[in-house]
Symmetry: C2
Subunit: 340 residues, 2 copies
DNA sequence: CTGAAAGCGCTAACAT
DNA sequence: ATGTTAGCGCTTTCAG
């Protein structure tokens, strides 16, 4: 009896076990496992089936270590509860699967603040590139991180760093223009706290308002949650009809949802008393009963482009940073209506 | 000049680099890095700050390999677009962070079908335990997987395997009972395809109906998506008032949302023409304009319990499988109303 | 408190 | 086509 039964043992089956079982060298097994040339077809088949029979699982930790160069792609997500990020994830996964790269995921513990340790798990996992959606840190800090491990910034543009994002200025213009077209003049923009590199939507809004000789009104919520938005919207909408805005453009669908709740609790109807535009085109926006007019930033496509950029960055570490901009689209639904 | 500038070099800074820089042994650095006893406070401080200055990052792949026993926890999620899973994730992360275990995440490529390779990335990452939410495979297959790496099943009970789940039978009873209390008699249950271990909700429904001398009507959609539900609901609701159900209990909020869309496109109002109960208490259910009566399975708490169970399983591999059941709660909202 | 030495499972030259 | 050998970065006895 040459090979003791390892089935019940706690130790994992290794390539050596497979090699010993077949009476060949470890190397040969290693070559066979990853389809490298230099193994006869016959041998490869034997090895593969023996490995399977023994319950062998490749230890990628060891493989990566031995390979000496990083091979995995890191993905950082700020928040799993927002399906924009789920869409980005899907896009990334789609691309990486066809490139069979390994994906290591890290999610912010406390969403929506710049978390200095957010990328640490990814650094420790020795990823070769990090797709970040979204970093709220200042650009200088992002460039510093990028020096450690190349970054692909999603949803944001940072000069000198690969960036995949939607044209938020034009998105802001789209939303504001739509409300202007409907006859609204008293239009407010509700957004979250200001972070460098995340101000384009309000810029698009402000510019469009000024071009029409109108006074922009920008309201910042304390955070990016529905509740944060509801809190400030409640104050904003408490004024009598003539004084309060007849339309609000919110920085995200999530914030728009908060505005909806506030409006409802004040007895204001949408779009009767208030027209509302969101941003993201998340799934909930399209729901009957919600019907939120919004700007689609094509999150899944963003994810695909990011995956692509990550793969290319791994291949050509020294190539110049790309800045890919996708055009957003206005999705008109029932939350906006002509004034009066 | 003893230490060449490694800042610009591509190679990562290792413990040896730190040791050499300080003129101490690698071992000492290793001890200091993970706060092991046997290093003077002074030395530790020196080492830590030197490491920081050099830009040292611990390589967990190497650490895990050397440690010889698995240390990471794997988390498998079927779908990121359903915030029940986002909640489960949050709960798991919360517990594991305070245990500072590493979390490796894997998400199904094609949600909502038993994917035979779904856990492979986790196996390859050499995790010590896998939290699975949710596996649709037959129980026998789950037990087989459990033999490789201990599993913690979330949202489902598999005898012989750690299981953390909601009491779905009582959840089904809660939902059905609520509709009966409102005077409904013609109540249908709309669910997804039948998978072993995922039939409790319909069981609760069926039993309750039979106990009241009523005929259960179970409708299976082709999948678990909103669209799948809408398709079958459209047929179900096309009949004239007397013939069609006056209430539907859906297997999930996602499916309930599909029913809503179908009802809307048929011009039926909820709850005027149809009372609707979902399951999950996802965030969207509570939205003004949706107001879906639903059964809360306390997903985040499920996640916490799963994280806890995972930690314990790592510590005591041989302890008997736990089966933890959480009691679901009915959340009454505006999608259900008395008959007539 | 510190250091030397062995080895985790795998890859990748470099033989043969 | 197959085998030999030397590490990858880290942890962990075991001696000083």
């Amino acid at each position: 009896m040459r090979t003791p039964d390892t089935e019940t043992s706690k130790r994992a089956v290794t390539q050596s076990d497979v090699a010993r079982h077949l009476g060949v060298s470890r190397t040969l097994v290693s070559f066979a496992m990853r389809g490298a040339p230099g193994v006869s077809e016959d041998m490869r088949r034997q090895i593969l089936s023996a490995a399977d029979a023994l319950g062998y699982r490749r230890n990628i930790q060891a493989a990566d270590l031995a390979r000496k160069r990083p091979t995995a792609v890191g993905l950082h997500l700020v928040d799993l509860h927002n399906d924009v990020y789920a869409d980005i994830f899907s896009g990334v996964q789609e691309v990486l699967r066809s490139n069979d790269s390994r994906l290591v995921i890290s999610v912010n513990a406390t969403p929506y603040g710049p978390d200095p340790r957010a990328l640490d798990p990814l650094f420790e996992a020795q990823v070769g590139v990090i797709i970040a959606a979204t970093l709220l840190d200042p650009g200088e800090r992002v460039r510093e991180l990028n020096r450690r491990v190349p970054l692909v910034n999603v949803t944001r543009s940072v000069p000198g760093v690969d960036s995949i994002h939607s044209d938020d200025i034009s998105g802001g213009r789209l939303a504001t223009g739509h409300l202007l077209d409907l006859g609204h003049r008293n239009i407010a923009h509700l957004c979250g706290p200001a972070f460098e590199g995340h101000l384009e939507r309000r810029t698009g809004y402000r510019e469009t308002m000024l071009e029409h000789g109108l006074q922009p009104l920008i309201i910042e919520a304390a955070g990016f949650s529905r509740e944060d938005a509801a809190a400030v919207a409640l104050k904003l909408l408490a004024s009598p009809p003539g004084q309060r805005p007849s339309a609000i453009f919110a920085h995200s669908d999530e914030l728009a949802l908060g505005v909806r709740e506030a409006a409802a609790s004040l007895g204001l109807s949408i779009p009767g008393d208030l027209s509302l535009v969101g941003y993201d085109n998340s799934r909930v926006a399209g729901l009957h009963g919600i019907d939120l007019t919004t700007v689609d930033l094509h999150a899944r496509e963003l994810g695909r482009a990011a995956g692509q950029a990550a793969v290319e960055r791994m291949l050509y570490p020294a190539s110049p940073a790309v800045d890919r901009i996708l055009a957003p689209t206005l999705v008109t639904r029932a939350s906006t209506a002509p004034l009066h």
